[in-house]
Symmetry: D2
Subunit: 347 residues, 4 copies
């Protein structure tokens, strides 16, 4: 019988947008139709966000995109001041990014696997990718240990993820050179995970709360919402760049309404781009159009663009275009993390 | 110019599965192919769950399905002991169910609307459905008031939703006869919303925490995960019936792993059914197969079935089949809510 | 090793809409959202077509829907004067309908098969359905024999399919009681297959032309287009009911333009309904909206409805609704076949 | 009111793969997951076809891809001996390629247009692209004129499309420099359109046959199938590169079976790549997997790859990769057209 090693051989390697100047390619798409033209427009809108000095940029992430080789794209956006806040699923930030920062890897697999055999071998499958379940358990436990080490009070996910960055720093730095959790920690880019228990960290929290029934930390999702809304209030003008839909998309659009509730006339997101394959016809949020979001007062319709395409192909083109256009070189870091540490920010 | 009243005219009416005996129709689908055959198998697996007295049934809900006329389907499942716990998005339980329980309605609209006009008129659009934004703000505020009235400590979403049910009882009962929040409150069916700030309630929490900076309640998503895991531990055998994907799907599958962490050898979900249009090829969770979930040790592969179809058509057929087969008549309520009030439960 | 018999065990059985009165169910969907409401509207538009005595109804068929258990639905539409002409892919009419009329069956299979093993066993797979390749070869040959028996000249697909009906009659009648090819032959409902070589018949034609290099029949697709246009010209008012997209959809929409070319001011299709899962965002014909078709002057926008759903579930509901509403009882057969035999028709 | 000129302003411009060296970008995708990795594998398989000197390469085209800016991609493949035969929808070859060769253009439009207004202005819409209907009528008529000029007998689509190339040559050459019909004419690359009446040419044929009721040419789709099968028999080894599905996909796969019928043991297509967004779950041909095709004996499973993505983005990457790898430089033209003119070919 095959062993675990037979399956976990070829590592996923993250694409490096800095190596691929796609400006001319994406420019050519402006005069085509369908996804190519929409991709071009999305790339140009993202570049507009980067040129607009007033605009705080929020990146939302959903789908198993870091295990798929897109981690370094986000890392480069963070390191080059191309994003000011991130709203993500837990799986991306913990199971995938923090997991790799702990020294573990994702592996090339097959969608035609025998899943019962994989289970016996402690291999988890994400479509065509494999993960070592035993390594993932270590990731869970590390989150539990971090929880054990903290003062027992309610935390926003942002606070806890900052602690994860600090944990990496205190333990010799990340074992992957392109950790988004760590880069964001260093660059004062806040990361929010609105459904934070729904990931490897959640297992850590369950251990922590079970072992500390009387006194334990808690994860306050209301605080997440309040904090992200505070970013909207401080930044005033905002643009959102959405990879996939789900809770990160909805949550980030909703802060306009929350800001409006706290202060009259908070402006809508001025720019909005989404890469997704979700269909609008089932009425669900992930595929809902940005025009629809406009009826809710969340997004302006002037600079919005949906791109119908799978993220592993489309995201490097959009992000790579903006990287090589270089508008970010004139852009100062917003360091929104400092809002919460009482420091002054630029925005 | 058109006024708000011109748009908010025709009310959405919820389909009543009790009125439509679809058993013979769904039985005929057993011998066909594609979605029809898969729908038939899913309906039969759900009926198996209902016949299996050891099995606790968890229903997961995602997508804007209550505003689309599916609320009464879930209401009937709750009232007839066909579901023992619910894991949902916040929009379904608060913006849609609790909203209607406060006396408000959803309206038939058009996907070809002028969204800028709708925004000016304070009308929110969900694909082909309209909502009165001003009424939704009252829903937000009501959640804020409930938060104000509670002892300032961390709550699971389950606890808060129970308080929403109590609020309805204390205020003359729901103004809609088919409120799932209220039915679940009365029938001791716990409802979990793992990303609870990502909805109308979130706006209430933002108001509450802003107005009570020193002392306020918080929403502990870790507690949600722990509590749902406790249900898994108490119930031992479980089946899951998933409408759409998203956080509710992932969260509910994950409790098997959490239970396994807390206690060796927690069994996988024995039965699993999902209705979705999401594609597996983007690698995201919503469309990931139940076979893939099996590699993670979450779901057994013997009785699992994905159904490719939009929920407004497929869910009434699957639920209606199980209703009219009548296996639920022999089934006792599990009343999992009592786990958390210290009472004995049957499971 | 498994034998062919181990795979070809359970026969596909066609759903019988006459046994399932879905009127009340489909009526309830009128007040819902998303696919349910669109399904309801499509069903009502189809019923309007049946009530409109001037309206000739053209049914277009694509996808492997007869092998999936939908053959009897179309058979019942033909037998009850609910359709006046059919435009189809070749696979449906020859590989599936005529194949079953020759006494062969389709079998329940699995999408998770070992396709290399199936090939060795001469079993063809359509997603979750199996066909005996050796039986299919007999179907090919029978088409070749029919071709051999005919006068060597260009034929429209309609003419050849009429000959297939006649072949069945001359050979003791079809061995399946619900053959659409045979029913259409008896009821004077013309069937067109615009890409007629792209199916089992094509193999027959290749044999026929190879064995008769000097003198052989040919399949004139231009004649198909001309004949279907003649139906449009005779009928004047038309409605189209489309299952899937592809060539049958485009071809049938195009006859409005062809009629307009031959005679000024041919009216657009007055009613149009399509059941499909195809997406409009790749710009391809199958998912293109009926509103888009209106820009081409093919379809009026007053009574058009796309339904997003897979045909095995949606088609029986739409067709079953119209059947049980009974408007067809007042409807006379148009017998468009007679246009081509020089007989008078009613339209 | 807006005039036609207000809509027909910005021309679609075709992307030029020669200008964009994407080899490094596509190579990086090898180590990722989902569509990126599949795109990489598809590109490498296409490059393998080009290196394999025995292999005849058949390109199949469906969807409105030439109006979307992909015409020059195919033109460059033809001019650089990267494709030996083409099987296409009629719309691509006639309404789009021949149409532009006559000097007309496609224009950038919007999916949110008022289609009734467009119709009044004689503007046809393809999702986000506009066409001048009056110009399209000239294209129809030109096809009719070509038909009028030919000897009245059955033609394969290949023969007629060769005549279209000749018409261009006889009338001063194409008015677009990148006409695929003309390039294929010059390079002896046969083009097949198995549903040839289903396009602008069909309107021409209807005029021709109506005006010449006694003596007219016909389009013999059986001859198409026989001729493409002859290519398979001459080439022996074949690879297929499919953009979209539909009739071109099925037709081209079927020639293996046809060859097998004419001659024992015709080899399956050795290489097969498809770019599509179609879903396999509705059981239709367009989304059916190449593994499924293998059960039919059409495609070998060793070198096959489906890529889930929209063609305007994915096709330039796959074709551009193969172009810049340069394996075609060692490749001789197969000139399959000569099979039908009695000349010797290399294959």
């Amino acid at each position: 019988m095959k062993s675990k090693k037979d399956f976990l051989k070829e590592e996923i390697k993250h694409i490096d947008i800095k190596q691929h100047n796609v400006v001319q390619l994406v420019d050519a798409m402006e005069h085509m139709a369908f996804s190519a033209r929409n991709l071009n427009r999305a790339a140009r809108i993202y570049d507009m966000m980067l040129k607009d000095k007033e605009c705080g940029i929020i990146l939302t992430l959903a789908g198993s995109i870091f295990s798929a080789g897109l981690k370094r794209v986000v890392y480069d956006l963070v390191m080059n001041n191309m994003v000011d806040a991130i709203v993500s699923t837990g799986a991306i930030m913990v199971d995938q990014d923090f997991f790799e920062a702990l020294g573990f890897k994702h592996y090339i697999g097959s969608p035609f696997s025998d899943d019962n055999l994989l289970r016996e071998l402690h291999i988890d499958r994400i479509y065509d990718t494999y993960i070592d379940e035993d390594e993932l358990r270590i990731c869970d436990e590390t989150c539990g240990k971090i929880a054990d080490s903290l003062e027992p009070r309610p935390y926003s996910s942002r606070e806890f993820i900052w602690e994860m960055g600090k944990y990496l720093e205190d333990h010799g730095g990340p074992k992957a050179e392109d950790s988004v959790v760590f880069a964001a920690f260093k660059k004062n880019v806040p990361i929010f995970v609105p459904a934070f228990s729904d990931c490897s960290a959640g297992f850590g929290f369950v251990m922590h709360q079970t072992q500390n029934p009387a006194k334990h930390l808690s994860i306050d999702s209301a605080k997440d919402f309040l904090e992200l809304t505070q970013i909207k209030l401080k930044s005033n003008e905002t643009g959102i760049f959405m990879i996939g839909g789900g809770v990160p998309k909805n949550f980030t659009q909703d802060i306009v309404v929350a800001a409006d509730i706290l202060k009259e006339d908070a402006p809508m997101h001025k720019y909005a781009v989404q890469i997704t394959v979700a269909d609008e016809r089932d009425g669900a949020l992930s595929g809902s159009t940005l025009k629809e979001a406009s009826s809710w007062g969340k997004v302006e319709t002037t600079f919005e663009q949906m791109v119908y395409g799978e993220a592993t192909v489309v995201f490097p083109l959009v992000a790579g275009y903006a990287y090589h256009k270089g508008s970010w070189k004139e852009r100062k870091p917003k360091e929104f993390q400092k809002i919460f540490s009482g420091e002054n920010i630029i925005a």
